[in-house]
Structures are given as C-alpha cells and as structure tokens.
Symmetry: C2
Subunit: 351 residues, 2 copies
C-alpha cells in the first residue's frame, strides 16, 4: 500500500484558495482567468509537485493524446529504431505512446491488440506479424490506423512501406552484372509479404543469373541445417542474397563457420543494412531501408487522420538505398586474394 497518494487537483485548488475549475482552466490555458489566479495556481502546483492524471483527464474530456504502437519484435534493431523515432515525433505533438511487442506470434499479436484497446488510444501504428493483421483486430476496434513495413492482405489501412521489389531487383541486377551465374536467395518465409515482394523483385530483375530460393524459419535450426547442407553440395552457388536481417545474420554466421571466404568462395548480399555489415570482412553489400523516414511518414499519416482528414486509404512506398561493399566484388573467375583492396569505397555515403 502506498503511503500518501500523489496530489490531486483538489489539493492544488485548496492550497491556492481557488476552485478546482479554476485550476483546470489555468492548467489548460483556458481563456479569461486573471493573472492573479494564474500566479496563485502555478505556485501551488509547483509546491505540491502536481502532475495531472492523464487517465482521468482523458476520461472526462474524451480526447485521448495517446497512440498505440505494435511491432513484431522490439529486439529487432530496425523495429527498435522505428519505435524510437516514433516516440520522439509523438512527444513533439504532445502524444504518448503505448508500445507493445507481438514477439513474432500471431496469437500474441491479437492479445496485445485487445490490450492496446483497453487504453483507448486515439490512433494505432502497427507493423503486422503477417498479412492477416486485420482479422486480429478486436471486433469493433475502429480507430485511425497506419500500417508500416509489412503489407497486409486487405488494403483498408494507410500504409507505409519500402519498395521491396525495386530494391531487391537492383541488388539482383548488381550481382548479375558482377558476373555471378547463379544465386541462392534465402528468407524467413514467403508468407511475410516483404519477403515475397523482394523475391519477386529478384526474379523480375535477374537476367543471366539462375535463381534458387530457400525458406528458413525464424530461429529455425532445421531450415539452417538445410542451408548448410546446400552450401556443402558440389554445385555450390556463386552468390547468395539474404532477404531479411534475421536470415542475413544467421546465414552469414554459418558461412563464416564453414570457413568460406566472402566473396572469394561465395558472394553475399543482404536486405537490411546493419551496423556490423560495415565491419565484417570487406563489408557486406546491403539494402539500406529508410526506417526513420518510414516512422516519420507513418506518424504524419496518422496525425492527418487524427486531425480528421477523410478519404481512401493511401499507400506510400519509400525508396531504399543500396550500399555496395566488398562482399559482392567481382571474383567469380579470379578466386580469393585481391578483394581486400577495393574495400568499402563508399564508406562515407553512409552517414
């Protein structure tokens, strides 16, 4: 049991010798309160360390300066950056955020959404687990909603995403032009829309290069075993392309453990540019997603809806940058050796 409750507006009022209504008026900057009152109230507020009870405030005023945010996994650096940016923007607009993670689980996503609803947020920003997001919204939960990053099955929401197909296609073209004759493409699962779009982009862009797809689950040892077996086959692929951060990390680890040289033995490219990709070997070629921009756009879209803007759901596709690094340097013919020297020439485009 807590000793003393935190001060209420009533205590402020009595200490200032005014009514609670006056205190409320002062705090909310309402019109026509005399300077004298303002001073008295502020003094009392200061002395008591009074802070408004947001919940009670929202309850009565029926206006909620709160937005819900749900992401598949907070430990994913991309999503963490997304949330962090969002939090900052929200605060600037006077909003609070209730952030939850679905931990890559659809059932948990549904549960957390119900939980978010219990907070009665004014709006929602979601990076869905998968395409069936809508079906997991609690019945009758209809607040302005912006989806981000992953593409849902039904387009009834505003959406911000990156142009997966184009970016993945550009990487594929790059590999193709470097002269790699075949490429092993890996991703968690095609059921994740991003992965699917990227795979389709690769297929559309590859010309000379033959393709091969391997789905590896999320933290799935079986899938990783399959991957490793594939690399041990005689007809090992000349290049590989990981379609998301998770598989990039997992597969790169295996490649390193097997003692394969990159790009000498196999070229390596990745969607999602993580910080370690600049450090490892001669650098890993990667697609850099504009996460911050995505968060900004998502918040902007939501703000507009909250301001009452009507109209059809809109979709915004953001362009990705591609960081060419040593891991895809031409060496299909001349194995090993001299790749070190052309190390990371565009290092500084990276700030």
């Amino acid at each position: 049991m807590s000793r003393s409750h935190s001060p209420s507006i009533r205590m402020v009022a009595s200490r200032a010798g005014v009514s609670v209504a006056t205190v409320s008026n002062v705090l909310n900057g309402k019109a026509s309160v005399s300077p004298d009152m303002v001073a008295r109230v502020n003094k009392a507020v200061e002395e008591l360390g009074y802070v408004v009870d947001i919940a009670a405030s929202r309850l009565r005023s029926r206006k909620s300066l709160l937005a819900g945010v749900i992401v598949p996994d907070l430990t994913n650096p991309m999503f963490a950056a997304f949330v962090s940016t969002l939090e900052h923007l929200a605060r600037v607009d006077g909003f609070d955020l209730v952030v939850v993670s679905a931990r890559n689980d659809a059932a948990e996503e549904a549960d957390r959404l119900a939980n978010i609803r219990a907070w009665r947020p004014a709006g929602l920003i979601a990076i869905p687990c998968d395409g069936a997001f809508k079906s997991r919204l609690p019945a009758g939960f209809s607040i302005p909603t912006v989806l981000a990053d992953r593409i849902p099955d039904h387009d009834e929401f505003d959406l911000v995403a990156v142009d997966n197909a184009a970016a993945a296609g550009a990487v594929a073209r790059h590999l193709d032009e470097q002269g790699f004759r075949n490429c092993l493409v890996v991703g968690t699962r095609l059921s994740i829309s991003n992965v699917r779009e990227r795979w389709e982009g690769v297929q559309a862009a590859a010309r000379q290069m033959t393709l091969e797809l391997l789905e590896i689950g999320i933290d799935d040892p079986v899938g990783l075993d399959a991957f490793e077996r594939r690399l041990r086959e005689r007809s090992k692929p000349q290049a590989m392309f990981a379609l998301d951060h998770g598989t990039a990390l997992a597969t790169y680890r295996i490649v390193a453990e097997m003692g394969l040289k990159v790009p000498g033995d196999i070229a390596f490219a990745s969607f999602d540019d993580m910080e370690w990709m600049q450090l490892v070997g001669s650098g890993v070629t990667a697609v850099r997603q504009p996460v911050e921009a995505m968060a900004e756009k998502a918040w902007l879209l939501l703000s507009r809806r909250l301001a009452g803007e009507a109209g059809e759901p809109v979709t915004r596709r953001l362009r990705c940058a591609i960081e060419i690094r040593g891991s895809t340097a031409r060496s299909a013919v001349s194995r090993g050796g001299e790749t070190e020297s052309l190390k990371r020439e565009e290092k500084h485009g990276n700030q």
Copy 2:
C-alpha cells in the same frame, strides 16, 4: 471526431439485461453471481466486443497494474532486449508497461519522468542516464523504484547491475597474460558509473601491462579524432579495450578503416557482446552481460515491493561471462599471420 464510441459497461449491462454492477462483478470474477448471469454477461461482452477501459478502472479501484520503464536509448540493443524481456514478464503478471526513452539526455529524462508520473504507475524501473537520477524524479514522486545497469550516486533504490569491475578486471588479466605490454582503454565518459567501475576494475587487475585511458563522448567526432591520432603515434598500444558498446563499435570501425589488423597490429576487447562480434575477423573478445537475467531480477525486485515487501534497498550484482575470441590472441611478438586458425573455439558456449 470518431463516429461511434467503443462500447461501455453500461451498454453491456443493458444488452444483457442486468445492472452495471453485475457486469463488473462478472468481469472481475467476484464472488456469488449466478451462472445464468455470467452466461448472459459474457454473451453480451462477446457480441459487443467490449474491452474494459483500463484508465477508468484504475481511477476507481485505485489499483494500477501499470509500471513505468525508462531507458537512456531504445535503439541500443542491450536496452531493447532489457525492455523486451521486461514487457514479457510484466504481461505474465498482468501488468502493462509505459516505456519511454530519455535519448541520452538528462533534461529529457526529467521530462519523461514527469510524463510517466502522469500515468500513475504502481512502480518504476529505470536505467538512469547518469548518477544524478534521483534529482530528476518529480517532487513527491515516490513509488517503488528499481534501478538497473547503471549505479546511482545515492543508494536509496533497489538496484540490479553487473559486476563491472570483476568482469573488466578479468579481461585485463587475460590481456596481461596474453603478453600485451600496454593497453589503451576507451569509454564514453567516466561520469557514467559503469564505465568508471570497469576502468577501476581494469586498473586493479592489470599487473605487467601499463594502462592509458581515453574518454570518447557519445557520438562525439572530437573524441574519435583523438582516438585515431593516438593510434597513428609511433608508440601505438599493443592492445585496446572498449568499455562499452558504443565506443566498441566506433573504435572498431576506425581501426578497420585505418587498415590495422586485429589482433596482428592491435588486440581488441570489448565490454558488451554484440552479435557482430562473432562475425568480424576472427571474432572479438567481449564481456557478455546477462541482460535478460538483469531484467528478470529487476522485475522480481519490483514485484516484491509492489506486494508490500518493506526493508532497506537491496543491490544485486550479476556475474558476466567472458567470450574469448580471436581478437586477443597472443601475437604481440609474432605479428600477423597464424591467428586465423585459433578462431572462435568457444563458439558454442554462446548459445
């Protein structure tokens, strides 16, 4: 303006043909309500998609199943993992979390704390920006509080941290035993308690090895320049030890850019074991902090306080593991070359 408000307990009551009190009783599993009523209420809840309004509930019941969490930076993977674990544990206990980031800024920390207070959480878990945390708590904000990771100036709160000195000392001893004669130790600033403790641990443990300290700010180009200049001097250190993740990443990047071989030209060790440290070169020797365990301990401590456990503030120090990798392999005498072979032998202690 939203069209239809989400259903209230009153609507549930009228649809079920009972009183609101009965609905509340059913929802909260209160004693003695007939099975008939239970069924009717649940049916109505189902049909309307009713979800309780947490804020109103807390307001009246005066019991808050909400805990505040503040961290210096959400994009730091360590803190993200901390928060993620915490969120899961909280949920298991029926708690919600309001998570904010201070963005490495003391003023912002103070601001966010006031904001957290507006939510009237039952407890608080904080990773403070610096030692002066207490001074930034809003006046009269006294709820059960657990600090984590960083050590405050005054010990009036429960605290969970790692044994920085011992772990850093072990690394120093390792470097010493490997035969490195001098070591450049880098960290953001000694004013961060962790960094200070680690530095002290290093000093206490080093025997043959001479030490040298360099403070590099957080995202501070000046500090990094100083670091780079130091590495260009003729009497370049044989080994270096980065005392936190930020400096480890920044300095390793510079080392790589300068074309220095690790450990051939300089040995490298780090506090904070990040995933890329297994991948880069022959692996980076690092202290692995038990973040999840720290979150668990923090939550446990808070739960107890919330359950009413009284008593003096307690401090728990968790032990760190040390991952010896190639970056500190003995090569002070025999430069370059054969270090590849002893690559990452304890890879599997790492799961």
